[in-house]
């Protein structure tokens, strides 16, 4: 069964689009095709949030309202959702409560970021719980405002996002659900022809077969990286295979000893399960990308694109994750660290798909720490990302797995350091220096716009020192300026 149209809900009605270039972005669809110009283009790369719109998605019988960056969302990806843009909020001559709160608190100055901020707050308004200040600044991490200094926006959100949504969507929630449910089906979508298409197969077998048949196709998961090839590199991507409709790839299995994540599982979907492994992972995920990026971006995509500065690979490598790949009907499995061959080169054949990631949970004697170092805490790309899993027996280090991002051309394990750590006593900090120095054997970082090589080296040393100090018992309120573990446990 194949469908040659995408369908979504717009202002209460089903919209069908049957012909569009595969790489059409949602933002261009809104501004150029629909001529709705309330949604703004600020950066065209998903970093400023001016283009934020909300997608209503049906999941497990519930509707989730999620903010996405329309500039790095492809039109084909929104099949089966409700598309809500800033023009839709006010009704009958009255502003939506989030809009009214922004006006009342003087939350706009130049106003260019405001539509995106209104949409992010609209999503938070529908979150179902009263938002704390932390929830609000997390929600807004992907919405840059250059004028206000954010304070009035945060105040507006604190007033209005009280968990008691009362608007058109809350009042018509049954109708919204029914409309969305009517759009869900198990058919493969193919828009275009054999030379140029946007495809969104629905089953695992069909996506694997299609990828094998079109090894030159671009595999699309969340589009938070691929869309930039279109908007910034001006690349023409004639064939796009989207993984987002494959149920098997969205599966998240929580086994007693491990998590098993399908390749299309988003950060947002995996957040709770991964965070349960260790509070540092929760803190990392809070800071990774932005809300907009986390609801779209996938952990599989972060791995598949092989970036040396992806935040998840060092964590997953330190935890000992393994990767399953599929080519048509053939599967293979490998340790995650072996997937990253060299800069820009992964152990993946054309037409082969990253299929599943298996992540071991921590054993009782294992401690875990991870740290993301960047110029800005939120929504920044790491200069250095360090992850540490240390097994401790009788106050001695029995085993260590350490991986860093930003320190080499790929996410890479610190094998020499790991060896040097074994046998060291946590009670004797003076004995650690040799192991810390071994990082110099493991890594020869380079300097770039994010950090110099010297800084990366110094930070890597500092992070190992910090991890060991903490595992040895130092309270993190004495070792960190942010993300203290004591605070998280209390929360």
């Amino acid at each position: 069964m194949t469908r040659n149209t995408i369908r979504f809900i717009r202002r209460g009605k089903v919209v069908e689009v049957t012909a569009f270039p595969p790489s059409r972005t949602l933002l261009d669809y809104l501004r150029l095709d629909e001529k709705s110009r309330g949604t703004k283009e600020g950066c065209n790369e998903g970093d400023c949030g001016a283009c934020t719109v909300v997608l209503g998605r049906l999941r497990g019988g519930r509707v989730f309202y999620e903010p996405v960056n329309a500039c790095i969302q492809l039109l084909g990806q929104i099949d089966g959702t409700e598309l809500i843009s800033v023009e839709d909020l006010a009704a009958g001559g009255s502003l939506h409560p989030v809009q009214q709160a922004l006006v009342d608190h003087h939350g706009s100055q130049c106003g260019f970021c405001t539509p995106g901020i209104a949409m992010s707050l609209f999503a938070l308004y529908h979150h179902g719980e009263a938002a704390t200040r932390q929830d609000i600044v997390d929600q807004l991490a992907g919405n840059l405002c250059r004028c206000t200094g954010y304070r009035p926006i945060i105040d507006a959100a604190q007033q209005v996002c009280d968990g008691k949504a009362s608007d058109r969507w809350s009042k018509e929630s049954d109708a919204v659900r029914t409309r969305l449910a009517a759009l869900q089906d198990d058919t493969d979508i193919v828009i275009g022809d054999a030379d140029s298409f946007f495809a969104a197969p629905a089953s695992g077998d069909s996506v694997a077969a299609m990828a094998a048949r079109h090894p030159d196709a671009t595999i699309l998961a969340g589009a938070t990286d691929v869309a930039l090839w279109i908007t910034k590199q001006m690349r023409i991507l004639p064939k796009i295979i989207h993984l987002g409709r494959v149920a098997a790839l969205h599966r998240l299995e929580n086994h007693p000893d491990r998590l098993s994540l399908g390749a299309a599982v988003t950060y947002a979907e995996a957040e709770a399960a991964l965070s349960a492994i260790d509070p540092d992972i929760a803190e990392l995920l809070r800071r990774l990308g932005s809300k907009q990026v986390r609801v779209s971006g996938t952990i599989g995509g972060n791995i598949a694109n092989g970036s040396p500065i992806g935040d998840m690979p060092p964590i997953l490598i330190a935890l000992g994750a393994s990767l399953t790949l599929r080519y048509d009907a053939a599967w293979r499995m490998l340790p995650l660290e072996d997937f990253f061959v060299a800069y820009g080169k992964q152990d993946r054949q054309p037409g082969e798909l990253v299929w599943r990631i298996d992540v071991p949970k921590l054993q009782a004697n294992e401690a875990f720490r991870c740290y993301k170092i960047s110029k800005r805490f939120d929504q920044d790309i790491s200069a250095v990302m360090g992850a540490f899993k240390i097994a401790v027996e009788n106050n001695c280090i029995a085993n260590a797995r350490i991986a860093f991002g930003g320190m080499a051309a790929t996410p890479k394990r610190a094998l020499a350091t790991e060896r040097a750590l074994v046998g060291l006593k946590l009670t004797e900090p003076d004995s650690w220096s040799g192991a810390i120095a071994a990082l110099g054997t493991d890594y020869q970082p380079i300097g770039d716009m994010r950090a110099s090589a010297d800084y990366r080296r110094a930070v890597a040393h500092g992070l190992l020192q910090k991890a060991l100090s903490e595992i040895a018992g130092e309270l993190t309120e004495r070792t960190r300026v942010l993300g203290q573990r004591e605070r998280q446990v209390v929360a």
């Binding site: 709705s36 110009r37 309330g38 703004k40 600020g42 950066c43 400023c48 843009s85 800033v86 006010a90 502003l95 809009q99 009214q100 922004l102 003087h106 706009s108 100055q109 130049c110 106003g111 260019f112 970021c113 405001t114 539509p115 609000i136 600044v137 807004l140 991490a141 840059l144 405002c145 250059r146 004028c147 206000t148 200094g149 954010y150 304070r151 009035p152 926006i153 945060i154 910034k232 001006m234 023409i236 740290y371 170092i373 110029k375 800005r376 805490f377 939120d378 716009m449 994010r450 110099s452 800084y455 110094a458 930070v459 500092g462 992070l463 910090k466 004495r478 070792t479 960190r480 300026v481």
Partner: protein, 775 residues
């Protein structure tokens, strides 16, 4: 200034609309996405799109060849513009004539526009622009201040200096002498709306251009010159900008010029909207500096002499570098008296984009120097930096600035002391010292710094403004003036002034787009002067009409002038009251004009740049901020934990708008000094050309404990519009307190040693300073 009333003598003025915290006039539109920016204008049929092209691999050198056949061959491309297509003058500079719209024989920085593609869609124009081949006889670029010094590039502008006394002698005689040098980074404006212009050709070779610009008149002049038509053949209009911050003062012209040229060549409307990365690569930024200085003081930290040299990276051309660097010098004293001084400025030429206006306009760099010097003195003498600051403030008898202007309104000390108490500075400083003594990895710091900022364009002729007001016969008012709206709330403030004048509700005042067709020969909306100048001009326009109405009423109702009042939408005429609209209608029937222009020129300004003497500023705006930070000495990470601000806006025209400027300016300044880092590689390429790599503050960077208060002022001692004070730029420099607090935290590692902290204090800069303290 002595003839002016002191704040305490200024009478309270009772007002109806002025002083209210009204919402931004476009707030309702902003939140609904219905506020129209340039790219949102429904394009006239047949509008074409322009994308700039440049040499991707070179920063400077002669253009050997230009191959554009592949560009022209792309379906949908209508024209490719080069310098040869320009009928008039190929220049978009603000004055000197050194900024080509399209590079002709050579390029001088990486990203300089060499050609522009005109196509049916923006996507096609951008894709085709990548296919152009520009062959350059590439030379090694001078990228940094140090490069420019080493290579002896010819400065973009002559040196300039302020001098008083014999500094060399005074330094030698000083008990304590400090020598120090540091770098100050630049800053990308990152207005959320990038540069954009839409040009619509008219029937006689002229053009109407809708431009996101702070300076419509300059865009008009640039386009007229370039198209070889009279100024009157070009109209430039701007309803609003999605942020400006100085980045659209001089640097909006080039994109309007490309759109206008495309419109001229094709006869069709044309739009040029830059992609964000192009915008960041092709437009100028805040100037970055190296500052070398020596200071001499006594054992209490009171300065005897200051010798400072500001070495500024201007980029490849002059742009606004004269005014910017002059203002650095004007603010090298911040709020402090330097008995003997030598303030030297060099304006260095580099092969980088031409640096330009940015909120504060050079002032922030001068003031950062002054505050760093205060910290350095305190470190050397083991004093509380706040005591050093207080000891050096201007006061009676020590009140002449380096440029010969007397400071008479010495409110800095009162503001500092009020903030010192309300922020609990001393107790917190003690607490922090105790915390630091017991903390190995984490250190805290605190600093309280003042701001004194001179208000007026230092190019005196720019201190003028015009307005146009129409009253219609229903009593509604059409308001137009030369100031532009970039989010700062100028339009609503001026509308409040006009509503006040006529005693009518603000909703009766229709705010209209700034256009050179209504108010000509305007100054840029800059130097924080928007409300001061345009508020006065609009009020003057209103007063002309109001006086005509009064004269009419005096005759018609036979009452004395003094018996007539305009209030609450009515005109009280003796014992009689009539709706404002009804009076307007009657006056119209009596054939009285209900339209007027208004004009204002700031009085009392005298500035002789050659002699470096005079009164360049009408008055000073003041503020003070206290910031507390925490740093991680293992990684250099930093959080801003609490900020207290006390800021002086005189008598506020609109407190909510003013607080918005204070908070927004502070956070923008904090970004400049902490996380915003421009990185050029040694080939002159900007590596931080997108928000993925150039980080401005986001919501979580705002201190959760952020206390902002307006200083209780009886009003500006200068006779400004309703005794208000300018507020656009001064608050940015409150953020210097954050940088000083970081310095203070790093300094706790080794008391007595000055931390070699650079600006911005990124995690890397902090860790570098920490390591220097530890070795």
């Amino acid at each position: 200034m002595t003839s002016r009333p002191s704040p305490h003598q200024t009478a309270r003025i009772e007002t109806e609309t002025v002083g209210l915290s009204l919402a931004h006039d476009s707030a309702m539109l902003h939140v609904q996405g219905s506020a129209v920016y340039i790219d949102d204008i429904r394009e006239p049929e047949g509008t074409l799109h322009v994308a700039p092209g440049y040499a991707p691999d070179a920063a400077c050198g002669r253009i050997l060849s230009l191959s554009l056949d592949a560009v022209r061959a792309v379906p949908g491309v209508l024209a490719v513009l080069t310098a040869r297509d320009i009928p008039g003058v190929n220049d978009c500079s603000p004055s000197i004539g050194d900024d080509p719209v399209l590079a002709d024989d050579r390029i001088a920085f990486h990203g300089q526009v060499v050609f522009a593609v005109v196509a049916e869609t923006r996507e096609v124009a951008r894709q085709a622009a990548r296919l152009g081949k520009v062959e350059i006889a590439a030379e090694t670029p001078a990228v940094t201040v140090e490069d420019a010094l080493a290579r002896r590039t010819i400065d973009v502008l002559p040196d300039y200096a302020f001098k008083r006394g014999n500094v060399t002698k005074a330094l030698r005689a000083s008990q304590t002498r400090i020598e120090d040098s540091f770098h100050i980074g630049g800053q990308e404006h990152f207005y959320l709306e990038g540069q954009a212009a839409l040009a619509v050709p008219d029937e006689r070779g002229g053009v109407t251009v809708y431009s996101s610009t702070q300076h419509p008149t300059e865009v008009q002049h640039c386009l007229a010159k370039m198209l070889a038509v009279p100024d009157a053949a070009v109209t430039c209009e701007c309803r609003r900008m999605g942020g400006g911050f100085g980045g659209k003062e001089s640097q909006a012209a080039q994109w309007a010029a490309l759109a206008a040229l495309a419109a001229r060549i094709t006869g069709r409307p044309a739009k040029c909207r830059l992609d964000r990365d192009d915008d960041m690569v092709m437009t100028g930024k805040r100037h970055d500096f190296r500052v070398d200085y020596a200071a001499g003081c006594d054992e209490t930290g009171r300065l005897a002499a200051v010798d400072v040299t500001f070495l500024s990276r201007c980029g490849y051309s002059a742009d606004l570098s004269q005014g910017v660097n002059d203002r650095t010098m004007f603010h090298a004293d911040n709020a402090y008296f330097y008995p003997q001084l030598h303030i030297q400025s060099r304006r260095l030429r580099t092969n980088t984009v031409s640096n330009t206006a940015f909120r504060g306009f050079g002032g922030p760099q001068g003031m950062l120097f002054a505050e760093r010097m205060m910290e350095a003195i305190a470190v050397r003498l083991n004093l509380d930096p706040l005591d050093v600051r207080k000891r050096n403030l201007y006061e009676t008898g020590r009140d002449v600035t380096p440029y010969g202007m007397k400071v008479t309104d010495n409110i800095a000390l009162a503001m500092i002391e009020e903030l010192e108490a309300s922020s609990d500075y001393r107790r917190r400083r003690d607490q922090i010292a105790r915390f630091n003594a017991g903390s190995r990895f984490i250190k805290k710091g605190i600093a309280l710094t003042p701001v004194k900022f001179g208000i007026s364009f230092t190019l005196t002729q720019m201190n003028q403004a015009g307005a146009l007001v129409h009253v219609y016969t229903d009593g509604s008012v059409h308001l137009n003036h030369g100031g532009t709206e970039m989010g700062q709330g100028l339009y609503v403030k001026v509308a409040q002034v006009v509503a006040e004048e006529f005693g009518i509700d603000i909703d009766m005042v229709r705010i209209t787009a700034t256009t050179t067709g209504k108010v000509p020969n305007t100054s840029p909306t800059a130097a924080s002067s928007g409300s001061d100048l345009n508020g006065m001009a609009a009020r003057n326009a209103g007063m002309v009409i109001k006086n005509r109405l009064i004269e009419f009423a005096v005759k018609e109702w036979k009452v004395a002038r003094s018996a007539i009042r305009f209030e609450r939408g009515q005109v009280i005429i003796g014992n009689h009251a009539i709706a404002f609209g009804d009076l307007a209608k009657k006056a119209h029937q009596a054939r009285i004009s209900l339209s007027s222009t208004g004009f204002y020129a700031t009085p009392d300004l005298v500035w002789d740049r050659d002699k470096a003497k005079g009164r360049p500023f009408y008055y000073f705006a003041y503020g003070a901020a206290c910031s507390e930070v925490t740093i991680d000495t293992l990684t250099g990470e930093m959080t801003v934990d609490r900020v207290d601000i006390l800021h002086d806006v005189g008598r506020s025209l609109n407190p909510a708008i003013d607080i918005g400027q204070i908070e927004g300016g502070f956070i923008q300044g904090m970004g400049w000094l902490t996380m915003e880092e421009l990185v050029f590689d040694d080939r002159g390429r900007l590596r931080t050309h997108a928000p993925s790599t150039y980080k401005i503050p986001c919501a979580s960077d705002v201190p959760a404990d952020f206390r902002v208060k307006l200083f209780e002022s009886a009003g500006n001692p200068a006779d400004t519009i309703y005794r208000s004070k300018a507020v656009g730029e001064p608050p940015l420099m409150l953020a210097i307190s954050v940088w000083c607090a970081v310095l203070n935290a790093v300094g706790s590692i080794r008391p007595g040693k000055m931390p070699p902290l650079e600006a911005p204090a990124t995690p890397e800069a902090i860790l570098t300073a920490v390591k220097a303290m530890q070795t």
